[in-house]
């Protein structure tokens, strides 16, 4: 697979991706020069808004439908080790950059009044987290990618540890970091093996993603690399059975952090960006295993979610199910499946996080996320209930919402791959609907069981703004998914061709 590059200077005239990474850091430094907490909040939000506008400028200048790497920047970094500073986006990654900026802005808005403890540090950590996340999505050098991947842990740990809402936040933060480190060690090994293979073939080291795609990898090495990388990405996903950190982190961590953990599917992105295209034959050979894990996750996540009374826990398990469904889409290895997986990830970034925000608003009022023990919330906070329902419709993939295109395409892809897989995936979709609707019924309809519910105030203007933005996105993307799909189509097509092509000619020659 040869990916052409369009440089940032050709396309837009300035290194926009570098700016997207550096800007939040600079802004974080400015933030720390301000004394007044209120000004800090406003400045932080202004920064997030600027960053979001910048990502939207990038999206508007993005050329859809082609597989080229766009806005590319390439600078030599550690030449002897073959490590370069190489940035760029294509159809696989382009959507996640604005999504990251959008979610960060929403998290900041939602934390306006709920974060009382050291707001300056909180917003600083969020901005750094934003920078590293965007770094992950735009890096095209594997070492650079890994640097951002690890840096991501620092602000995450701090956010979980210091602003967590649960009594065991220290344990949750530690568990999170331990899991992540356990996953990233094999990932690093996989990256190194790819570099060494490049050395074996060409005589020089390289960790450059487009370069590595042009170098054939022997079959046995492919399998090893695939499993090393798959382990790292599965933990991050989280893909069943590596998911246990997520529920803990969501229960103990701050609302903002749980939104980012659920909303940004870094693990699935890793599979799609690196694990599958770099070692396509191994990915093809072991696709059955990934799909099997995927469908198990779909059913398992929804079943466990079904019995939860706490919305954060429910979201954690539902998220495990959604990651499973996205993995099924990715490893169907057809255009529909992969496009569906991308749409699904985008939808989770909006729908799941929308629900978590609303749960967070209730948590701020009542001190509990055990919504289902309340009952009758609908009568007392009707606006919140309405938004909860609308966003929930996207969560379960009802047509007309952003959840439908992704789910539909993944099922379409899965049916194309194997009917049994699709049948189980459909089962998961049903359970997912049951999970949300039954939870909604318990929490929002029926008689009120706690007096605390009666005095609740409905959404405040700032909260209503977040909910309405989420709701508008849910319906907007749901009705007009095609512009988004056309952005991803070129790159998805390239990945599918890469995986489905015959084994590399060199291997054939060798056999002769």
């Amino acid at each position: 697979m040869i990916l052409n590059e369009v440089t940032a200077s050709q396309q837009i005239g300035f290194p926009i991706l570098s700016i997207l990474i550096v800007f939040p850091i600079v802004w974080a430094i400015i933030l720390n020069l301000i004394e007044n907490d209120d000004v800090v909040r406003k400045t932080a939000i202004a920064g997030a808004l600027l960053e979001l506008s910048l990502t939207l400028i990038m999206v508007l200048n993005f050329t859809p439908g082609i597989s080229d790497i766009q806005f590319a920047e390439r600078v030599e970094w550690i030449a002897t080790a073959g490590v370069g500073y190489h940035l760029g986006v294509d159809g696989i990654s382009v959507l996640f950059v604005p999504l990251t900026a959008f979610l960060t802005l929403m998290v900041m808005l939602s934390s306006w009044s709920s974060v009382r403890f050291r707001p300056k540090s909180f917003f600083t950590a969020l901005l750094v987290l934003e920078a590293t996340t965007i770094g992950i999505f735009v890096s095209l050098d594997l070492v650079l990618f890994f640097v951002f991947w690890e840096l991501f842990l620092v602000p995450s740990y701090i956010l979980l540890r210091l602003w967590g809402i649960g009594p065991q936040r220290g344990y949750a933060a530690l568990k999170y970091v331990m899991y992540m480190l356990a996953g990233s060690a094999p990932l690093l090994m996989g990256i190194v093996l790819l570099g060494i293979n490049h050395f074996d073939v060409t005589g020089s080291l390289s960790f450059d993603y487009p370069t590595l795609l042009t170098v054939p990898v022997p079959r046995e090495t492919q399998t090893l690399i695939f499993f090393l990388m798959a382990f790292g990405f599965a933990v991050k996903g989280p893909l069943f059975p590596f998911h246990t950190w997520l529920a803990t982190a969501l229960m103990e961590g701050p609302v903002g952090m749980s939104v980012l953990l659920v909303g940004l599917k870094l693990g699935v992105y890793g599979f799609l960006r690196f694990a599958v295209p770099l070692v396509p034959e191994a990915a093809n050979e072991w696709a059955w295993l990934m799909v099997a894990l995927g469908v198990i996750a779909v059913v398992f996540g929804a079943l466990v979610g079904l019995v939860q009374s706490n919305l954060r826990r429910l979201m954690a398990f539902a998220s495990v199910g959604h990651v499973g469904l996205a993995i099924v889409g990715v490893f169907s290895f057809n255009v529909q499946g992969i496009q569906g997986a991308l749409m699904l990830m985008l939808n989770m970034g909006i729908a799941a996080t929308g629900l978590l925000f609303l749960a967070g608003f209730l948590h701020a009022r009542t001190g509990s996320s055990e919504l289902s023990v309340f009952g009758g919330l609908g009568r007392h906070v009707p606006l919140l209930a309405t938004f909860f329902f609308i966003i929930g419709l996207a969560f379960i993939g009802v047509p007309g919402t952003s959840g439908f295109p992704g789910e539909f395409l993944v099922l379409l892809g899965a049916f194309d791959a194997h009917w049994a897989v699709a049948a189980i995936a459909v089962l998961g979709v049903i359970l997912n609907a049951a999970l949300f609707l039954s939870y909604f019924e318990r929490a929002f309809l029926g008689p009120v069981t706690r007096d605390a519910v009666r005095g609740l105030t409905d959404l405040r203007p700032r909260e209503a703004l977040i909910a309405a933005t989420m709701g508008a996105l849910v319906l907007g993307i749901g009705l007009f998914p095609n512009p988004i799909l056309s952005m991803t189509s070129g790159s998805v097509q390239a990945v599918v061709e890469r995986v489905q092509q015959e084994p590399t000619p060199q291997v054939v020659n060798y056999a002769d």
């Binding site: 047509p399 539909f408 049916f415 799909l485």
Partner: protein, 502 residues
């Protein structure tokens, strides 16, 4: 012949805008109901503008937007679509007038919500009628479920919420478990979502899989209330009467039948059905539904429940007619969409009128009510004659076509089913009519003649049972009138049905 036309989009948008206006004018009930009525009338007019081109043999097309790379949201109006759309939009006008009378007289809560969601339900219904492909249909079909859910739950009581939950469970469950896989499997086999008059599947498609897909479609159209997916319909009778009218006549159940007819005519096609013997299988299922529902209806005492089971059995008439696969049979099935709707809406309007006037819901309590509500019960009589199929009402035309169709198709068993079910239907409707006209009111039971006279006077004073008002009795007289008109001048509907056949 295909013509580009924006009319189908307009029809969809009119009610959507209507919903917006209803919400915007919520502070002024008169204006709000005015907007609702204006939207209904306008939609009806828009639908009527499409009649001429369709009768000239054209189909109207409009591409709304490209949705996924494989498929767009496209509207296409053919005769079948038009028949469904005319039925729905004309009945929406009547229902709106009736609703104004009913909701105000009954002092219902949340009337703005009611009018808004009815308008949205009509948007979904028009979308279903005009869908050019399975995906478009699926989207609007699901939309209809969610737009009618708040209507079923309208009262907000535990019973209403339970019924609404059952409604949602059946609709959503069936459409995710059966309909969605059916659509996806159809695409993987036929490589298209578009409806095509001779069916979409290429020759040589795996027949086992085709049978499975057909079964999934049939099970997935829960709105058609084919047994065993019917029990949401009787449960939903807790909703206010105008909502029942919407469910039973205007939109919901017709949407289910419409989906089945589309699958039979435009996804599988006549030849494939016959070749796979699916026509016989469907006919058996439909016949069982017809007879079982009629037996149920015989034993029930709540008027709306009887009507609900009557609907279940009548819907299967439409499906039964279609799978006869003879031209008269199919015409009978298709025209029954209109004929049944006008009759059934009359009956529900009457049930509502009785409730408003006398607060009675049980047949056994309605003794002698025909003498107190002469207009209502006259309309009820016409409606039930039409359902039973007695001339000069529209129902007779249906029965005529179905009966001749079954003979034409050489299926004597179906002819016998029709005969038996007609007897049963007559049985449960004439029970109601006999009670209403010739029964004695419950207060009079067990009294001597002298006391009875005295009690009668008291009863008159106590209940003051009389017709509620023109907003109630005008719509029901009109719909009853249409049932008679369609029985005497059935040409227009038959012509549409003839054009709708594959």
């Amino acid at each position: 012949m295909q013509t580009e036309s924006i009319a189908p989009l307009l029809a969809v948008v009119v009610s959507l805008a209507g919903a917006g206006l209803v919400v915007a004018t919520r502070r002024n009930p008169n204006l709000r109901e005015g907007c609702s009525l204006a939207a209904a009338v306008l939609q009806f007019v828009v639908v009527l503008t499409m009649v001429r081109p369709i009768l000239d043999g054209e189909t109207l097309h409009f591409k709304v937007l490209s949705f996924l790379p494989q498929v767009s949201i496209v509207f296409r109006v053919d005769a079948l679509a038009l028949l469904f759309a005319i039925t729905a939009s004309s009945l929406w006008v009547l229902t709106t007038v009736y609703s104004i009378g009913y909701m105000r007289h009954h002092h219902e809560d949340a009337q703005t919500r009611y009018y808004a969601f009815v308008a949205l339900a009509l948007t979904a219904t028009m979308g279903i009628a005009f869908s050019a492909n399975l995906l478009t249909l699926y989207i609007f079909y699901e939309l209809l479920t969610f737009m009618t859910y708040p209507l079923v739950a309208h009262a907000g009581t535990a019973e209403a919420l339970a019924a609404a939950k059952k409604y949602l469970l059946y609709q959503l469950g069936a459409s995710i478990v059966f309909l969605l896989p059916a659509i996806i499997l159809t695409y993987t086999m036929a490589d298209t979502f578009d409806f095509q008059p001779d069916g979409v599947f290429p020759a040589g498609t795996n027949t086992t899989l085709l049978v499975v897909v057909y079964g999934l479609f049939l099970a997935g159209s829960a709105k058609a209330a084919i047994m065993p997916f019917h029990s949401w319909l009787p449960a939903a009778m807790v909703a206010p009467t105008p909502v029942s009218a919407l469910l039973h006549a205007v939109a919901v159940v017709n949407a289910g039948v419409f989906l089945v007819l589309r699958v039979i005519f435009d996804v599988f096609g006549e030849d494939l059905l016959r070749q796979l013997h699916l026509d016989v299988a469907t006919a058996i299922v439909a016949s069982v539904t017809i007879l079982m529902a009629s037996f149920y209806a015989l034993r029930l005492d709540t008027l709306k429940a009887v009507l609900a089971y009557s609907t279940i059995s009548q819907l299967s008439y439409m499906i039964l007619g279609a799978v006869l696969l003879s031209s008269n049979g199919m015409i009978g099935g298709v025209i029954h969409i209109a004929n049944h709707s006008f009759a059934k809406i009359t009956l529900f309007f009457c049930a509502g009128s009785i409730l408003l006037a006398s607060n009675k819901t049980k047949i056994s309590e309605m003794g002698g009510i025909g003498r107190l509500l002469p207009v209502t019960m006259a309309a009820f009589l016409v409606g039930s004659l039409s359902i039973v199929g007695i001339p000069p009402t529209a129902g007779f035309i249906t029965k005529w076509f179905l009966a001749t169709g079954s003979i034409e198709a050489d299926k004597l068993a179906i002819f016998l089913v029709l005969l038996l079910s007609t007897l049963l239907t007559a049985g449960y409707y004439f029970r109601i009519i006999r009670t209403a006209y010739f029964g004695s009111s419950p207060e009079e039971d067990g009294l001597s003649d002298a006391d009875r006279e005295v009690e009668k006077g008291h009863a008159q004073v106590r209940h003051q049972v009389r017709e509620v008002g023109p907003l109630i009795f005008v719509p029901l007289l009109l719909s009853a009138g249409v049932s008679v008109v369609l029985g005497i001048f059935p040409h227009f509907v038959i012509e549409l049905a003839r054009l709708a056949l594959p």
